[in-house]
Every structure is written in structure tokens, then in C-alpha cells.
């Protein structure tokens, strides 16, 4: 999005494998301890969809970030769709549905 609207961003790399996303400095910005984080002056944003909309709106691109209620709702309903399949979930990679069955099996076994 920054490339699309010609906004320049300063990229700060956070190495999550070294635990850098959980440092007090990052947690103060995003209590979830997750990246990405967008800072613009004193504004701190997390969640990529919010950032994209903000960058587009700030650049005056109402074509990309529509302002009419209907268009905006359409964008909001769609912009989460594809991310679901690769977004972080349970720390152990567990599926909730399985655990009950497993406990049952352990009791009987």
C-alpha cells in the first residue's frame, strides 16, 4: 500500500524468533506482542487492515479506502477473508475440536 500511494515508510525489522516481539518496548506499543505495528507521530496502529486503510486515507486515496458507508462495509467484510488461512492461531498448533476426543480416549485408554 505505501508503494501504491507513494508514501515512504521506515522499516524496522523485529526478529520474532529472538523474542523481539515480546520486549517491553513492543508490548507498550501493541499489548498483543504482535507485528506489524505502524507508527505515525503519536499514532500507533496494529492489524494490517487498519494500517492499509489509514495509509490510503491519509494519502487522500478515497478510491482505495472508500468513505461511503456501503463501500466501506464491503471493503471491511472482504479484507479479512484471505488472511485467515495463514494467520497465527494456537501456540501448539492445536485444533480445539480434537482435544475433547483426545481426553475421552485418554480416559478410556
Amino acid at each position: 500500500m505505501p508503494h501504491e500511494v507513494g508514501t515512504s515508510l521506515e522499516l524496522v525489522t523485529i526478529d520474532i524468533f529472538k523474542g523481539e516481539a515480546k520486549t517491553p518496548a513492543i508490548l507498550a506499543k501493541n499489548p498483543n506482542g504482535k507485528i506489524p505495528i505502524l507508527e505515525d507521530g503519536d499514532l500507533v496502529l496494529w492489524e494490517s487492515a487498519a494500517m492499509l486503510a489509514y495509509i490510503a486515507a491519509k494519502a487522500g486515496r478515497t478510491d482505495l479506502a472508500p468513505t461511503t458507508p456501503r463501500e466501506r462495509a464491503e471493503v471491511d467484510s472482504l479484507d479479512r477473508v484471505g488472511g485467515r488461512s495463514l494467520r497465527p492461531r494456537d501456540p501448539q498448533g492445536r485444533l480445539p475440536a480434537h482435544r475433547e476426543e483426545d481426553r475421552g480416549a485418554r480416559r478410556s485408554g
Partner: protein, 382 residues
């Protein structure tokens, strides 16, 4: 071969279906280009680079190609592939071979273990911010892989009925379950799978060596354990996790994990003996077996049953879960001398020496002539 669907791939498929339907005849998700396209496209591109195929979703594939052709997306993806995927690949790659063996032990299937590893990596990618210390990546990945396998086992319609009698080994009154699809059979793995990076391969807390942990007899014995007992035993005695780590990985209490471990160890010892006694045969087996197999192509076949390929007690335990009628030394010998070698002499089978699961094995393959016979027969019958 794909018997069941799996969560990460499942969700990707669900998302792709939604995208496909949302796109309809539109060029972009909301008709014209909006921020929604920019939010979704990078994830769709990541799914593709994880090996998830978009070919079944032509509108989504065309939309993604349109998005990725934009200069702005090219710049974004170039930065992302360096920033997100490369470190992840570097993190997981050293563990891939071990994870494949772990999944193999959990499922007893070499075919399924590659699918399990892919699902493990998808889940790991999504959960990567939960790995706080890269030094514990091995344990972290094995925990995820264990849960992937447990989910797969829970999804299967029925447990391995043949192995339902956990605890005591089969007795004379034991009856094999009716013949089941090939998925129910324990599959061997090529010994090349054992070539894993050494430093990560050995854990001081592990009870079994790498070679023991993939011995057919061990993997076969594992399959009589319940999935959760198998998971606990592998995490503790093969991967080398602590009791607390194992309990955490399996979302149960430490006493409950310990009790499952105890039951699993008792069952395993009854079937294959204690850790350290598992891999037998060794050099003697190695030196004798080639002669026996050379005999297989000539006439001196009788030395076959006396070779160390068959277990001392005639239990054919190394033959994993043999088909009904081929259990025991005499039965295996009968199978080789009367059936397989007869076929080999007729030129329909070729038996060669291979390595499987770190041990010597005999592989029998149908010869090309036989294939031609078959096809000519089928042509005649059609």
C-alpha cells in the same frame, strides 16, 4: 491417497472458495481496486509459496496474478519474502527430516508423513510468534507435529482395529481383523530418511537412538498404543522433552502424561523389549543376508528362513504387521519359498536387497515382463 482434509489446508481451501465466489465477474474484490485487495493478496501469495495450489480457483488465481503484476505489490512481496519467509525456512529446514520420521512413527505411514510435515509447517508458520527461543525450535516443531498427527488420527474413521488389543502381544486365540485397505498396514521407509542433521538428531534425554526409533518392530509396536500414549512416549523417549513440556504440548496434566508414559513403556517392553535391546542382527545379519538373497535368484533358497531377517522367536516381528497367514517363521519361509520364489523363477518378480528403516530388507518388485503380461491380458478382456 488423500483420505482426509487437514486444518491449515482446509482453511486455505475455505478462504479460496470465499474469494472465488466474492470475485465472481469482478476484476477486484470490491469491483474496483481497494485496500481489501492489498490486504488479502499477500496471504494468497504466501499460501501458494507454501505449496497450496490455486489452480482449482481460476478467478482467484487470475486476480492474484493481476495484483502481483502491480509494481507496488512487487516491491512489497520482494521485501516480504526476505523479511518473513526466509528466516522461517532457515529455522525449520534443519528439522524437516526429523519431523518426517516423527510423523512416520505417529502414523505408521510413510506416505502420510510428508502431508503431516506440510501441515506442521503451515501451522508453525501461523504460530511462529509463539516461539520465543529459536534454540527450542526442535521441541516446538515436534509439539506441533504431534498435534497435527493426533488430529489426523482423530479424524480417521476407525482406529487400527488390527492393533486394538493394547497390552499383551497376540496369543493363539488372537484373530486378525478382516482385511482392510492398505492404509491400515505399516509401511517401511527408505533408510535415506535416516540421514538427518546429527547435532539436532540426538537428545541426551531421549531413551531410544535414532536407528532404534525407526526399527520396524518399534514402529509396529507403537501402533498398538492409543494415540495419546504414543504421543507421550515419542515426545518423552524419542524427542526427549521433559514431563512438563510434554504435558503442555498435549494439554494434559503432568501426572496424566506420566501415567500414559508408564502404560506405553510397559506395553512396548512387552512387545519389543527395553530401549537399547531393540536393534539386533547387526553385522551377522548383514553378512548372511546377501548370500541368502543371491540364493534367491538361483536355487539355494533354503538358507533364507535361517537368516537373522526373521526374528529369533519366529514371531516375524520385524515384518511389522504381516498379512494373515504369514505370521511366524514357518509362514514367512513358506511365503518366500513357495510363492515369491516361484514367481521369481518364472521371471515375474525380482527380489533385491534394500535398506528399510535402517535395517536390511528384501524388496520384491514385479518385473517388466509381468507388466506386459498384465496389460495384454487386460486388453484381451476388454
Amino acid at each position: 491417497m488423500k483420505r482426509s482434509c487437514r486444518s491449515g489446508v482446509d482453511e486455505f481451501t475455505a478462504s479460496a472458495k470465499v474469494l472465488e465466489q466474492s470475485l465472481g465477474s469482478k476484476e477486484y474484490l470490491c469491483g474496483r481496486l481497494t485496500v481489501a485487495d492489498f490486504d488479502v493478496a499477500p496471504y494468497a501469495a504466501l499460501a501458494e509459496s507454501c505449496g497450496l495450489d490455486l489452480a482449482a480457483y481460476p478467478k482467484t488465481a487470475a486476480w492474484l496474478a493481476r495484483m502481483l503484476a502491480r509494481d507496488s505489490m512487487k516491491a512489497t512481496m520482494a521485501a516480504a519474502s526476505g523479511a518473513a519467509l526466509k528466516p522461517f525456512e532457515a529455522l525449520v529446514e534443519p528439522h524437516r527430516a526429523l519431523l518426517r520420521l516423527h510423523c512416520y512413527r505417529m502414523l505408521g505411514s510413510s506416505h502420510d508423513s510428508d502431508d503431516m510435515v506440510q501441515e506442521t509447517l503451515v501451522r508453525a508458520f501461523r504460530a511462529q510468534d509463539t516461539l520465543h527461543d529459536p534454540a527450542s525450535a526442535r521441541a516446538w516443531l515436534h509439539r506441533i507435529a504431534t498435534n497435527v498427527c493426533l488430529d489426523e488420527l482423530a479424524r480417521r474413521p476407525a482406529p487400527r482395529t488390527r492393533c486394538a488389543s493394547s497390552g499383551r502381544p497376540p496369543t493363539r486365540i488372537f484373530r486378525w481383523a478382516p482385511r482392510t485397505p492398505d492404509s491400515e498396514w505399516l509401511e517401511p521407509v527408505p533408510s535415506s530418511w535416516l540421514q538427518v542433521p546429527a547435532p539436532e538428531g540426538a537428545d541426551p534425554a531421549a531413551q531410544y537412538t535414532l536407528k532404534e526409533s525407526v526399527a520396524l518392530a518399534f514402529v509396529a509396536a507403537l501402533q498398538v498404543l492409543t494415540p495419546s500414549q504414543r504421543a507421550v512416549l515419542l515426545l518423552r523417549d524419542v524427542v526427549g522433552l521433559s514431563a512438563a513440556e510434554t504435558a503442555e504440548a498435549l494439554a494434559c496434566s503432568v501426572p496424566s502424561a506420566n501415567s500414559a508414559l508408564h502404560r506405553a513403556r510397559v506395553t512396548l517392553e512387552e512387545r519389543v523389549g527395553a530401549a537399547g535391546e531393540l536393534v539386533t542382527g547387526g553385522g551377522r545379519c548383514r553378512s548372511r543376508a546377501p548370500r541368502a538373497l543371491r540364493g534367491a535368484h538361483g536355487r539355494r533358497v533354503i538358507s533364507m528362513p535361517s537368516s537373522a531377517l526373521l526374528h529369533e522367536e519366529g514371531d516375524a516381528r520385524d515384518a511389522a504387521e504381516p498379512p494373515p497367514g504369514s505370521r511366524g517363521r514357518a509362514a514367512v519361509a513358506h511365503f518366500f519359498t513357495k510363492r515369491l520364489l516361484h514367481a521369481a523363477r518364472a521371471g515375474r518378480f525380482r527380489t533385491s536387497l534394500v535398506e528399510a528403516n535402517g535395517n536390511l530388507a528384501a524388496g520384491s518388485t514385479a518385473s517388466a515382463t509381468m507388466g506386459r503380461d498384465r496389460s495384454s491380458r487386460s486388453r484381451r478382456s476388454s
